[in-house]
């Protein structure tokens, strides 16, 4: 297969979780990569003190964004819950205008490629195609995982939610044809849980030959970037949020 052409470069990020210091560095890093398109896979808020700043930056940049479970949770909380300290403080500080934005985010974005005889559907979700709070973990049973792809009509499924990045290629052979599916967890910008406290996002490279019949027909690059974790953790400790959220940023757990 030829990959001699410049590929379509798509940046995918998610799970910022109101961590503005991490988000600013993510955007710097993404800008340096000069992607052709950027998508955000949700969970802009929760666990940190900068939800409004993160939402404003995403809106200002007109980034196509879908809703995560934390984003859809906000409208379900009562006035009482929103005025509490502890976990719910992270939602209580979200402004009216920002709440409206979260309440109108789409659930999924599907991008259909028809680059050759082989059509390729890329589906962006937060958790899974059926629920924004379902975890699609790397060790999921292959047959079950393929069913998720087929039910959603997807060849490439990109999601976040677990904060643990991976790219798993699944295959199914019928007769003498083998078809491949790509499961891509984009990791987390602002709350990684894979033991590496750096923020992370994904660059997807799609070529004119990309299709479902070649396992290596798209490249998935996991980018990690440094940010001022201590500054970010201290901001949590100086707020009504639980101190354990700060420790989790330091340890990436």
């Amino acid at each position: 297969m030829e990959f001699n052409q410049t590929p379509m470069k798509i940046a995918l990020f998610s799970d910022v979780h109101a961590n503005l210091p991490a988000f600013e560095k993510a955007l710097e890093s993404i800008d340096q990569q000069k992607p052709n398109a950027i998508y955000c896979l949700g969970d802009l808020v929760g666990y940190h003190i900068y939800p409004n700043e993160v939402i404003r930056e995403i809106r200002k940049r007109r980034i196509a964004t879908i809703a995560g479970n934390h984003d859809t949770k906000v409208k379900k909380l009562t006035e009482q819950q929103l005025s509490e300290t502890g976990n719910n403080h992270a939602y209580g500080i979200i402004g009216q205008d920002e709440k409206k934005y979260l309440a109108t985010l789409p659930a999924h974005i599907q991008v259909d490629f028809e680059l050759n005889e082989d059509k390729l559907k890329m589906l962006l979700v937060h958790g899974s195609p059926s629920r924004n709070d379902e975890y699609l973990l790397e060790d999921k049973d292959e047959a079950d995982f393929i069913k998720v792809f087929k039910d959603a009509g997807a060849d490439i499924l990109c999601f976040g939610h677990s904060h643990i990045p991976y790219h798993r290629i699944l295959s199914e052979t019928i007769g003498d044809t083998t078809r491949y599916f790509h499961a891509i967890n984009t990791g987390s910008v602002g709350k990684p849980k894979d033991g590496n406290p750096q923020g992370g996002y994904v660059l997807l490279h799609i070529h004119k030959n990309s299709g479902k019949l070649y396992a290596d027909s798209l490249q998935v690059q996991f980018v990690r970037f440094d940010y001022d974790i201590e500054l970010s953790a201290k901001a949590i400790e100086n707020s009504p949020l639980p101190d354990e959220f700060a420790e989790k940023l330091r340890k990436a757990v």
Binding site: R62, A103, T104, P106
Partner: protein, 257 residues
């Protein structure tokens, strides 16, 4: 949620620059481009650069499809011999002037984007295509039979379908009610940034506004605004006249036809 949708720039950089100034003032939450970046004017590479630079999710138009494959067929429905001869000059001029990287970008653009909302209890699918869901170069004019339009949207599972290609903007609401339950579908032609054909030479685009109560059950719960903006038409027309492109394209820009 304010979503700006634009298409059919057709290498008209002065129009695209004025569009960006205008749309920034509107402060949308997302911007999508529905294709046909190139052809009919001299700034194909510059238009691609401006759109790539802004990381705007973009789908391929029929002209992009042709140039991406270095084809001499843009899939355009030219009627007269003059139109065919002019079209041949435009596509060969565009093929010669587009750079390798820019051609690769056009070559790998997706065909459609579907944005799926689940705002209340129902689903609301916004489908973005260039011509129609079935064909990149199918013209969906406003006078298409309602049954046919509804069938196209049902097959594509689209509640709001936005497209360009004809360069003539319109918004048509149809009720494909099922067992007494209303199901309003919106067909929206977003017009053209750089080559309008509705008699108004201003550039045009669409602003779609969705609220948390937007639904297929209420036809007024989705706002569609057609925005027109001035740009330096004369500069774009002169650029055509000073190039190997047919002068007829300059006149089209001046008259919006």
């Amino acid at each position: 949620m304010k979503i700006a949708l634009f298409s059919d720039i057709h290498a008209n950089l002065p129009a695209l620059e004025s569009f960006f100034v205008d749309v920034e003032m509107q402060n949308p939450d997302a911007i999508y481009c529905l294709g046909d970046l190139v052809g009919y004017n001299i700034w194909s590479n510059e238009v691609i650069h401006e759109i790539r630079k802004r990381n705007i999710p973009t789908i391929a138009g029929n002209y992009d499809f042709g140039i991406g494959r270095t084809s001499n067929d843009c899939g355009c429905a030219y009627k007269t011999d003059d139109e065919k001869a002019n079209g041949a000059i435009s596509i060969s001029f565009t093929n010669e002037s587009v750079g390798d990287k820019e051609r690769s970008y056009l070559r790998t653009l997706p065909a459609h984007i579907k944005v799926e909302f689940q705002l209340n209890n129902d689903k609301l699918n916004l489908l973005l295509v260039h011509g129609s869901p079935r064909k990149i170069n199918e013209y969906l004019f406003e006078d298409r039979e309602e049954k046919s339009m509804i069938r196209i949207m049902e097959q594509a599972d689209a509640d709001i379908m936005c497209f360009g290609h004809t360069h003539k903007p319109y918004h048509r609401i149809m009720n494909s009610s099922n067992e007494g339950q209303n199901h309003y579908r919106h067909a929206i032609n977003i017009g053209s940034i750089g080559k309008p054909k509705d008699g108004n030479p201003q550039g045009g685009y669409v602003m779609l506004t969705l609220n948390d109560n937007s639904s297929i059950l209420d036809k007024d719960s989705i706002q569609v605004e057609f925005i027109r903006f001035d740009y330096d038409v004369e500069k774009a027309a002169k650029a055509v006249e000073d190039s190997p492109l047919p002068n007829a394209y300059a006149e089209s820009l001046r008259n919006g036809i």
